[in-house]
Symmetry: C2
Subunit: 689 residues, 2 copies
């Protein structure tokens, strides 16, 4: 309905004018940088192609979905998941195109696990016969799967899971059973309402002989199990399965629970590429090489880093654009009392929250990219059974997963708060992003826990370097030896980090080696208990990960094969320095203790950081533009490319808000809620409580 608000405009300067000016004043080559960041495997081209399809489909419209209830969000998620599958068939999309569509849709799909863990486990753990049987059904969508490993009582400690698969040599079946409530499968995506099959990970119990009543526990093994009727989609007798309920985020996903009551499954249910129970003799055969699993974990983690950088880019895009458009207060020192208000991004207290995160998105890019390349290069060796490089790759990837998802998760909230009041509103575009991404610090290896893996590896390599026997086993041990022979034994002058990027990188190395050595001394020489060192080990892991991030960023800029223009390189170098100095300043004392940086230089870091932020400030809008995050994905009034912030906020409130379609009865003596409808609404709501 047209009304007087239709003709109103925001106070000048308008958002579009502000952003146009920001873009005019900067020489950042947006197209070139976008290609540099996003052309790997044609990400950018794919994004554009798929975007054109989704944008015009009303099912993928996002602006009102925050008004739906959680059960409705699941239904919407299922409808979208189905539509994406149909679009995939229709357009002949490959897996990457289908993934891109999910990414742009920005809803976790109830089919997500089907396409990842479920199908991958059948591929990797199934024998040839099993693969031939299952894969066509999985691809056709007749079998819809989930992956049931984590339980109510055990997540990180997989060995502690309680669900049992007991081999019965008489009937030649396995009996799946949940002996306790905590044995319930829990959290498993797609299991709650969607899947009709599950990979169930259970403790394999095998009789000592065909007629023995004694069992050997062979540890957790995967079984493929039907969990719902293929026609009615109802649960099967002997199972109890459902959705676990509302969560922080991931509303469209039906994370589930499942219990088994002496539930029988055939011998063929056990995925038998590596392990096998002989149905006639009860003989159990072991996996040939358990290290295979590490390989794909490393690959998954490289992807987590690449994803984390896009999360940060998205948060920073919203923050930079809005804080340019938003103006508040004149400069307190301004002589002209009628001077225009400053862009909020002109305040160093806003810059310090946003611009280091912009730099961090780039830092993550170069390390994620390096990890992907490294993995691809070692993949050939792995396929030949050579796992020698895998240990270091795995150790690094644990620490990096921890640090990078932590940085990304915190960045969304930091950006959101930097938006001031409007950051709390639905128009920020950061609410679902935050709620969904906050799962990452605890899934795929809890961020605090997995730093042990990195630290443990580093301590071992330092111990080997101290022992110094034969050739160094890998580059980490080599670096430890170098540090022991150099800085450690001979003493070292602090490095001139303010003047040389090379020295800056070396300072991060030296600090990481120093901290590794300290931890080595505590554990190996002083024989301190493992648990008492956990906090220190997390610091060691983070120090190493930060060193990797700085190194890969620096190396990418030094790469002689790079075709980057000097202009682009200039800006990237400023970002590298901002990332490195900001990281260093936050943990300055470590660098001092490691003789990596002088006290005087550390004192200068805050003003150095402020200088670098001032350098980046005029280019901030074009630097975020380079990440090419489409408005469709941002779904943010504050972060729109065109800067029409206030028009969009008002439109969402005045024209798109369903709550405004109802007139309520506000008088407390009446229990009528909707004006003129008596107590119907109250009863309807009470029924839902």
């Amino acid at each position: 309905m047209p009304d007087f608000t239709d003709s109103l405009k925001p106070a000048s300067p308008s958002g579009p004018d502000v952003l146009a000016k920001e873009r005019d004043q900067s020489d950042v080559p947006v197209e070139e940088l976008a290609q540099h960041l996003l052309s790997r495997n044609d990400f950018l081209g794919r994004q554009e192609r798929i975007l054109r399809v989704l944008e015009k489909d009303p099912l993928f419209s996002k602006s009102k979905q925050m008004n739906l209830s959680r059960p409705e969000r699941y239904q919407l998620g299922l409808a979208r998941g189905k539509k994406l599958r149909r679009l995939t068939d229709q357009h002949g999309w490959n897996d990457e195109e289908h993934s891109m569509a999910q990414y742009l849709c920005d809803d976790v799909s109830p089919y997500m696990v089907h396409f990842t863990m479920f199908i991958n486990t059948v591929r990797e753990q199934g024998d040839e016969e099993q693969k031939a049987y299952w894969l066509p059904k999985i691809k056709a969508g007749d079998v819809i799967g989930c992956y049931a490993q984590t339980e109510l009582g055990h997540g990180s400690n997989v060995r502690g899971i309680e669900c049992q698969a007991r081999w019965d040599p008489k009937t030649k079946e396995f009996e799946l059973h949940s002996p306790t409530l905590t044995a319930s499968k829990w959290w498993n995506g797609s299991m709650g309402r969607t899947a009709n099959h599950a990979i169930v990970v259970a403790q394999l119990l095998v009789p000592k002989s065909t007629d023995s009543s004694e069992y050997t526990n062979q540890g957790p093994h995967p079984f493929i199990v039907q969990i719902r009727d293929l026609k009615t989609h109802k649960e099967l007798k002997g199972t109890a399965v459902g959705d676990i309920g509302p969560k922080y985020g991931y509303a469209p996903m039906d994370n589930g629970y499942m219990l088994f009551d002496h539930y029988r499954i055939p011998h063929t249910a056990m995925l038998s590429r590596y392990s096998w129970v002989d149905p006639n003799t009860c003989t159990y055969s072991k996996p040939a090489n358990p290290a295979v699993v590490y390989g794909s974990l490393t690959y998954v983690r490289a992807n987590i880093i690449m994803h984390a950088r896009l999360i940060m880019a998205r948060a920073v895009t919203v923050a930079v654009r809005y804080t340019c458009v938003r103006r508040q207060f004149q400069d307190r020192d301004a002589r002209d009392k009628n001077a225009p208000e400053l862009s909020v991004l002109d305040y160093p207290t806003v810059q310090i929250r946003i611009l280091p995160l912009l730099a961090t998105a780039f830092a993550l890019h170069y390390t994620g990219s390096a990890m992907q390349t490294l993995y691809a290069n070692t993949r050939a060796q792995i396929d030949k059974g050579d796992f020698s490089r895998l240990a270091v790759l795995h150790a690094q990837s644990s620490g990096l997963k921890s640090l990078c998802t932590e940085l990304a998760a915190n960045s969304v909230e930091t950006c959101r708060r930097a938006l001031g009041g409007h950051g709390f509103g639905g128009g920020s575009g950061l609410i679902q992003l935050n709620n969904d991404y906050l799962s990452k610090p605890t899934v795929e290896g809890d961020n605090w826990m997995i730093t042990q893996q990195t630290a443990s590896y580093l301590i071992k390599r330092m111990a080997a370097a101290v022992a110094g026997k034969g050739e160094a086993q890998d580059e980490v041990e080599k670096a430890c030896r170098g540090w022991l022979q150099g800085a450690h034994s001979k003493g070292a002058y602090p490095l001139p980090v303010l003047d040389s990027d090379e020295k800056l990188v070396q300072a991060f190395h030296r600090r990481s080696r120093y901290m590794t050595y300290q931890a080595y001394v505590e554990r190996e020489e002083k024989k301190r208990s493992w648990n008492s060192l956990l906090i220190q080990m997390r610091k060691v892991s983070h120090a190493e990960s930060q060193s990797i991030l700085v190194t890969n960023f620096y190396n990418a800029l030094q790469d002689p094969s790079s075709s980057l223009s000097p202009t682009a390189k200039g800006h990237l170098r400023t970002l590298l320095r901002l990332f490195a100095f900001y990281t260093m300043d936050a943990e300055a004392r470590d660098f001092l203790k490691a003789s990596a940086v002088s006290d005087e230089d550390l004192d200068k870091l805050p003003s150095k950081i402020q200088e670098l932020m001032a350098e980046i400030r005029p280019h901030a809008v074009k630097l975020v533009d380079s990440w090419m995050v489409p408005d469709f994905l941002l779904d943010s009034a504050l972060g729109r490319y065109d800067g029409k912030v206030y028009e969009d906020l008002f439109n969402r409130a005045h024209r798109l808000n369903p709550l405004n379609e109802t007139t309520f009865n506000p008088y407390y003596k009446s229990d009528e809620i909707v004006m003129g409808q008596g107590s119907d609404e109250l009863n309807r709501i009470l029924a839902k409580l």
Copy 2:
């Protein structure tokens, strides 16, 4: 429906057994501590009384409310708000009892602003006639009000608001008008759907004389304005008003927008206790003393700190209880490979996230409490027109609001992550708490911005101390003079903080003085621009606030009039030291630079902190019990007093989750969502997008 899961129990040891053992092993006097923390103004007695009423009313049942849509949450909020008003009438509750009911209900009420800002503004800014007219209607609930100050384009900078109230001497009316879209009132609670009146803050434009067409802008002034019809509750012609839509949290609150199109209101609409426009002469009279406003702001902020401590107590209660019940992994150094798994809280990496926050809740308590007492004591002076103590109180309260709400907001998320996977689930009880509380760092003065007020005050007092003329104006200046004459001019040895709590407190003072002095030099001597110092000023403000927190905690334990038992005092002292060392360790370099603590002592802090955490660990459950947060408020499967964590999680999933009542069609080729219902559901959802 009964099924095989009814008879299942969690693996042992059971949650109740674990918590019973935890409680048995500790000598913490829970009752005594609870009285110590919560007896002020009979908080605890009131909590128990109101709790008994709410617990048995199904309208206040929380366990399924996460499944409601945002429009339903508003409706539920309105129904609850009404019910609380009716209960208030029925039981004869006073304001504090009504507030307690809101607190326990844990939903922000659509009437919240009516009872706070709206009624307070009429009381404080209305003249006698206005109060006599409005207050009875407000109390009766016939007039339902909101407070419309913040606009789409301006929040922090109140002087920048655009809404105009132009005095028309011909008709003797004010004309309210929104000249732009950014002039729209925005964020104002209760305005979206509930209120029928608003306090509108607008720029007062007064003609230079009765027949002049030139206007003088007298700045922002409050007007009381009817905004909806009292019968139909529809908006009035010349206004556009509605709810702004979904937000991060606060689902039950109808934060609103409102625009005026040459909307006329009578002369009596301007609240005229302090300011007045003579309707005959157009003469404007100014407020007598604008400092009155500061007084209530300080009071509000003392309450914010007291509230923040309860938020932290709540998060920590959930975290401590669950991490005791939760077990994962055996001790890596254990000789017995069948040793039971450790409680997660036994890991230092879990302790370091939770136990310092437990200590912080106590620290906030003593400062909130001290601020309330200080305000009450100065209130008498203020009423006599003596504002001398108000400036220091106001400056301190700004920095403390910033630091304390930051600590509390971050604590919820830190605790949530420390819960591992289950922290992401609805049973954590931390989701709505986090979503709602995350508004606090930006409302009532943006946390980054308002630290300027504290720093500005500190720099002024340091400048006065350097000048050193006459008597010191207040205790801050006195302390600055002491520091200048002592540590600064004569040099100082670092303080032995590890051995003496008194020295520990002094170290915080010395560091704050040192940082204030550095900022003073930059601003006053080097004449650096204000904006270039903003980051440094935030650090100055936080250093001072930390010093206040440590001091008040220490003073409370030294108080000779305290009747605390030695046992209670012993535990509190451990918490004080943990809070102080943890805070110091995070900013160790500041303390070194200020010659407050030696490098050697700073090196020892991490292991000192670990020792203190080990001391607190066996008492953690009883220490959180002392905060007496009722299960009804926690609404947390993980944090229940009785430890029945897994039973409750399973109950919520298996018996209380509405999504499990529907069977879906998971096959992608069909667009049927609910099994057997064709495309109805899809169309219903599409209509909502």
